[in-house]
Every structure is written in C-alpha cells, then in structure tokens.
Amino acid sequence: MRELAWLIPVLPLVACALIFAFGPRLPGRGAYVAIAGIGLAALLSIGIFVEGLGGAKAHELNVRWVPYGQTALDLGLRVDNLTTVMLLVVTIVGSMIFVYSVGYMHDDPRFSRFFAYLSLFAASMLLLVLANNLLFLYAGWELVGLCSYLLIGFYFEKPSAARASMKAFVTTRVGDLFMFLGILLVFFTLGTFRFEEIFAKVHAGALEGMMVGGLPLLTVVAVLLFGGAIGKSAQVPLHTWLPDAMEGPTPVSALIHAATMVAAGVYMVARTYLLFFESPGHGALTVVAWIGAVTALMAATIAVVQDDIKRVLAYSTISQLGYMMLGLGMLGYAAGMFHLMTHAFFKALLFLGAGSVIHAMHTNDIKAMGGLARAMPSTYWTFLIGTLALAGVPPFAGFWSKDEILLEAFHHHRGLYAMALAAAFLTAFYMFRVIFYTFAGTTRSHHAHPHESPAVMTRPLWVLAVFSAGIGLVGAPFLGNPFHHYLHFEGLKAPAFSWGVALAGVGASGAGIAAAAAVYHWKVVPSGALRRAAGPLFTLVAHKYYFDELYAAAVVRPTLAVARALRTFDVYVIDLIVNLFGFAGLGLARLYRVFDLYVVDGAVNLLGWIAQTAGGVLRYVQTGRAQNYLLAIALGVIVLLAAGLFR
Amino acid sequence: MVNWPLEIVRAVLLTAAVFTFMAVVAAMFGVLLERKVGGWIQSRLGPKHVGPQGLLQTVADTIKLLQKEHIEPRAADRAIFNTAPLVVAVAGLMSWVVIPFGTLGDRVLVVRDLNIGVVFFAAMASLTVVGILAGGFASNNKYALLGGLRSASQMISYELPLAMALIAVAMEAGTLSTVGIVEAQAGWFGSFAFRQFPAFVIFLIAATAEVNRVPFDLPEAESELVAGYFSEYTGMRFALFQLGEYGEMFAMAAMATTLFLGGWKGPVLPGVVWFLLKMYLIVFLLMWVRWTYPRYRLDQLLNLSWKVLLPAGLVWILITGYRVTF
C-alpha cells in the first residue's frame, strides 16, 4: 500500500483541478468532490498507517526529475513512521474540517472556490509531508504558504483581511529566506537534497569541524532551517502574523492555523532532527528550546487579555507550538510530535466550536456572548472537551502529551520547566475564561438569537471531540506508551513517567481553572481590579509586548521611507533620463518620417507608377483571345523556320 | 504491287453485280418477305394481287416510286438533301464488300477479302449515321431533325456493343478477315454461335438497333415523329433510304451468318445455298421480332446499350481473351 502513497497528494490536487475547471456544476457545488478527494486520501493514509503498525519498512519512491551535474534532482516521496503520523493528522482533521465547511460556508458566493483552495492546500501540505528531500519539502512549504495567503485573504473585499494575508505572507517569507539559505548550505556542503543521504553524511561526520563565522557549520545550518520553522510555526519573534490571520474563514483558521500548516515548522524540525541533534553540544536544540519556551509563555500571557474568541485561540496556538518546540529542544522528539498530533485534534475542535459560536452569534467578542451552553449543547460539550484537553486535564489528550514535554523539560532544564509550567497554568486560565464568558451565565447580547448549528457542522465536532478525548491514550505510560514505540528518534530514550511531574502539571492546570472560576464565574476577585493591580504589566501584555509597533517602527516605516525616497529618485532622475532618450528618439523619428515620406515613399511610388503605366500600355497586347496568340505563335514558327533556312 | 486500273475495273464490275443483286433481289424480296411475314404473324394474307401470290408487289411499288415527283422543300439545304440518301445507300451496300457468299471451286466468292474485313464492316455501318443525320438536318423540318438526332445517338450507342461482339469473334478466330473467320469455324458446334454465344446475342441486339428496326425503331416512330429523318423524302430518294436500310439489314444478317453460323459451310448443298439459308433465317428472325415486340422508350434504349450490352461485351472480351491466351 505504501507504493500508492503518491496518490495521497494527487487526489486532493485532482479535486482542486476539477473544481477550478467545473466549479458549481459539480455535485454539491464542488464540495463533494473536495470531500471525496481528501476522504480517499484519509482512507489511504489510514491503510498506510495500519501497515506501519504492522512494522512495514520505510518506503521511498524516486522519480528522476532533473539531471544536475553528477547528482540528480529526484521527485521523491518517503513514507516512514513520522510521515504516517502526519498524514493521519492532516487527512483526518482535514476531512472533518471539509465536512464542517459545507455547513459553515453554505451561503458564501465563492463556495466552490473555497473548496478548491482547501483541496489545493491539502495537496500541498501532503506533498510537504511526503517529500523525501529538502527541495520538495520546500516546494510544499511555499505552496502551503500560498494557500494560506489565498485563504486568509478569502474575504479580500475586507481591507483588514487583505492586509492580514499580506502580512502573513511577508512575515513567513522572512523565515523562509533563512530556511532557503539553510537548504542551499546543506546542498553546497553535502551535494544532495535527500534526507537519507544528508543524514548518512552528517552521521558519518561530513560537516564535523567546519566553521562559519566562529560557529560550527552544522549549528548554523540547523538554526537557519529553524528560521523557517519560526516563520511558519509563528514562533517569537515572527509570530505576529498568526493572530491577524484570523481574518480568514473559521474553518481555515482551524485547518491551517491550528492543525496542520503551522505544524509544518514543527514537522520540519522533526524531519531534520538529526541535524539539530548532531550540532555540537546540542547548540541548535538549545536555541529551539529557548525560543519555544519564550513563545509558549509570552503567547499565553497575551491570550489572557484577548476578547476576540478566535484571537484567544490563535495565541493559544502560538503558545502550544512553543510547547512543541520546547519539547523537541529538550530532546523530546516523540513528546513534541505527540503534542503536535493531540494539539491538532483538539485545536481544530476548538476552532470549529468557536466557528459554530460565531456562526450563531455573528460576533467574535466573548464579552458579548454568554449562556450559550443551553442554546448550543453540542457545541458547548465538544468545546468543553477541547478545552479540557488543551488545559491538560487527565485523561484528555492534552494531558498526556503536555506531561511528556514537562517531563523532558524537568529532566533537562529547570528554568525552562518553570516557564512551561507557568504557561500550562495560563493556558488553563485563559481557556476557562473563554468558557465562562461564552457558555456560562446569561446572554449579554439582546438582539442575538443563538441556535444550534446544523448537523453537518456538529457531527465533525463530535468526531473531533472523540479524538480529543481519546487520542492521548496512545501515549499513556500505563499502556506502555505505544506512540513512543511507533515513533522515536534513534538514540534517544524517553525519561520514565514521574508521578511528581504529572501531579505538578495537573496542579498547574487545576490552579488555572480554579483561578479562572474565581475571577470570571464566582467573581471573588473582579477582573477590573486585577487589571488595575497588574498595571504596566497589563499594558505591556495588552499591547502584545509592542511587537507590532516595534516592527512598524523598525522595519515597516524605514522600508516605506526608503521606498518613497527611491520613488522620488525614480520619478525625477531615472524617468528624466528615460524621457530625454524618448524625446531624442522622437525627434529623430520625425526627421526620418520626412525622409520616408518624400524620399523613400517617393521612390516606391515612382516605381509603382512606372509599373502601372507600363501595364496599362501592355494590357492591350493581352487580348485574352487564344487565336491572336496562335497567330503570334505561327509567326514565331515562320521566323524560326526562315532563320533555319536562310542561315 | 496492286494493279490499279485492273483493280478499279474489277471493283466497278463487282459493285454493279452486288448492287444489282441487292437492289433487285434482296431488297425487293426483302420488302415482300417483310410484308408477307407480317401478314402471317398477324393472321392476314399480306400482298396478294400483283403477280402470283403478290410476288410482283415490290416491283410495282418500285415502279410507282420511280414515277413519283421529286419534291424538294424550299428551305432545305439542297446539296446535302440530295446527297444524304446516297450516303446511306452506298454505305449500306459497301458493307457487302467483305461478305463471303460461298465457294466456287477453290475460290471464295467474296468481293474483296480484306485483311481488316471486320473493321471495314464496322466502319461502313458507322458511316450510315452520317447520311441519316445529314438527311434529317437538310430537310429543315423539326420532325426530321429530331428523328435524325435520335437515330444518330442510337446508332452511335449501339456501334460500341456491335464492335465488342466483332472484336470477341476476331479474337477467337485470330484474324480480322471474314473469310478467315469462316474458315475458323468447323462443324456444327465449331460455329461461333456456340463458342461465342454471348457475342452472338449482343451482336443480334446491337444489329437490330443499328438498322433501326423494331423494337428499336424510335427514329422513325410514326406516332411521334411522322416518319423520322425521311419525312420530307419522296420518290426515288425515299426508295434509296429504304434500299440502304434493307441493304444494311441484309448485310447484318449476312455478317451474323458469316461470323457466327459458319458462313457458307454445310453438308451436301452448295455453299451459296447454305449461306442464303442461314442469312434468311436471321432475316426471318429479325422480322419475327419486328412484328412481335413493342417499341422501346429512348432512355430504356440508351440504358440497354450503355449499362447492359457494353459492360457485358467488355466482360466477354476479357473472358475470350483469357480463353484464347491460356
């Protein structure tokens, strides 16, 4: 079945092409085609995964693409355990979101196009996941970025959406530049793009001892590649695009900005983990870990003060991605990937639930909601399950994965452990803040008449809820941690389960829930007082640590200023020169025109006149009567005969 | 080297002899026979009062025709009008040049045993058309003109199957000479009527059409065209047309005899008698057909020639060629 892996990205791609070609004339205005594409891909992925459980070997499919000197660029796919896990996540979460979108986007005039974009996105993501070399991973990476741009800007008539899509595209591009440099560095030093060959050479010490600017080459390469992950996975300092990306339709937020695309950065780090691992003194991993920890904590603090339900979730996503990075950086390869998987399910669930709420309330502001638990029971219960999973309450999925990361951090670096624990507390706090604001109490909006969403939206929610609740068990230590057996990095051994760490983690979550309940449900401490007490810290957080302002001042404005200066130069100097040449050409052309008109044309006309006049005279010879010509022939014969006779 | 003066004298004498035979005996007797046969077939008596059993009826008719005034239409083209019957008569009689009548000792009784005898016969048959066309035109009468055109198209069409039949026979015999063809037929079943049966049939049909006899007599269809191309002819010129036509008919019969029935050959009786017997058999056959069958329509007539007889003749030539060669 692994030989058929190439079909997985092709199916959604075909669906995309069909929808682009035939659009609304397809069944379900194209939605069914898209769902069929991703659904078949999901079935294939499940088949491949089951095969992997049976212990199937990694499979590579290589098609010679471009000969390049001694080496060749191959169109290659690789199916191994890491890939199968990602395939499962992408296709299953993806198909749920596709189904959900049928209901959510139902009244949108660009319904078919939306599904085409979704299918294209799924195809690119699957290409990214299946690529067996850096080049194709990069291609999928950029395609995913393109789809992200298209989908964030799906409501392009809204200026904020257009700006957000631009911002997302440009910001991630900064990271991609570093990644591209890293890829080039790999290729120029090792001469190949293929992961297998890269790993083999690095393992054999091909880059050992090489230095770049006083740093070990391998570390530089790994950090450069990680630069791409920072952009794509919205790590500090390139995280600012993700909250803005919430301008897109909610299923897009769920699919791209929670479950799959942002996970691409994590996946990429995991895919090239050997480079990070082999960097001298785990230097690169340390960078990853610190960035991840800072991101996790900082995003969590910002999430606490957000009132827009999707933004809360967006910052939560950033925070959780930081967690994953932290896990990877703390040598928790399996832990990071495990968290990626569980997070994909419950974050998708949360986003879809949020979408359901927005669908019902027509607003994003949690302070305008309230008391929705009665009106929308399905949404409420599934959202609650997602929240519990995210908060890390056992036995829901988030607990198991988060616990592993905390365990790794605890074993490797206490400072980072503390940050992670704080982030866990904050996570539980802000998520329950949302719950209390949204579902508990009574509605604060008087002109809204909330109602439960249609079945096509709630059923995916329930499916995802089941996953969110249960998927964590595959990593449960008392079950022997089967996930760890399935997916692990050679040479790394996970630390043993520790009741202390687990209780600390649950404790942090519980404390967060309790604090949220105290502030927003029982109102023991009014939130306004809390805000005043925090003072400047609150201001700092509320302004998202001034990142956007900093970028505006440091990057955007200088760039714009330079652009304006250049424009001025262009308009007054370069254009002047060009215009001068233009005027000179024009003058010459006028001269030539006179020459043309009176000399060249005159000669041509003279010849024409001569030909015409000659023809006019000669046409009297052309009688059109064969008998005249015959007489001429006879005379000719006479002349010839006479010439022959009287020679 | 041919002795030309002697040759010319011989030719004149022989022509006179043949003409006499044809005009006096064959044509006159032929007309009488025609009327008698017609009478018998139609259960009446036919001419009976002039001479014994009406035998002199044709002589009386000829004398009547000779006495008649020669009328020349004022609008007619005189030269052509007067020449046309001659062309028909001469061409019809010239056909006889190559007919072998029988044997006298070692000599074959034939005017000239041309080595292109069959071709000559066909050529003379085709010359008749010119006379008919000229006569029809020169009369300056629309019935005559239409009759002439019809006649010419019919005769041209039927010349081709006729020539096909002749070619098939010549191929089988290996010679174009009529005497040679007769020599090539030995015995009853050696006659080409058996060995060349399709050619025989084609020849008979085409010959009937060629001499404008029923059922192919549209050119002179009285009910449509008065009398066809000789509507305006009177007296002796009319007689000349009739003479040419009867001469042509008898020549066809004689040619059929020569080509298919073994000519003068036969047991006991002298060759000339056998020849005449066979010839009159064919003549009787033609008369029988004339008094029995209705007339064809013009398109049927042309279709018969071009779509049936001509392809059949070509196919038969192919078969004959195969038989002769292998």
Binding site: R619, Q627, L630 | -
Partner: protein, 103 residues
Amino acid sequence: MTLGLTHFLVLSTLLFCLGLFAMLTRRNAVAILMGVELMLNAANINLVAFNKYVAPGALNGQVFALVVITLAACEAGVGLALVMSAYRNLETVHVDEINVMKW
C-alpha cells in the same frame, strides 16, 4: 515519277496549313475543333508516310497514328463537352465572345 515520300509530305503540309487557317480565323469553337482534327490528320499522314518510307522495319509510325486517333477522339469528346457547357452558360460558341474573365 513514282509515288514518293515528298508527295505525302506536301499533302500533309497543305492539310496542316488549312487546319491552322481554320484555327486562326474561325469564330465558332466547333469549327476550330475541326481545324484541329485536320492538323492531327496531317500529322498522322506524316507518321504513316515516314513509317513506310523512312523506317519500314517497325510499325511505330502506324502505332502512333492510332494513338493520335485515340487522343483525337478524347480531344473531340472533351472539347465538344466544353463547347456544350459554354453554350449552356454563355449562350454562344464564338470564342471571341467568351470573355467573361477578360479585364
């Protein structure tokens, strides 16, 4: 004076020139065709005469005369068909009146 090649050549020359004259001067297309026939016959006389007097060993001259007769038949058929067609469409057979293609 015995009959020689020259006699026939003179006859054919005169015939040829008469045919040419017809072609040069007649207006009626059919008459022009008749002139062509005369010229072809003149050529045939030449062919047969040369065959007898110059190369009697082979019959090529007569063979070619036959070919010419055949082609003359073709020419007459096609030519007269053209005349009929022209007459039907233009209602004239005079070659100097058939000038719809002329400037």
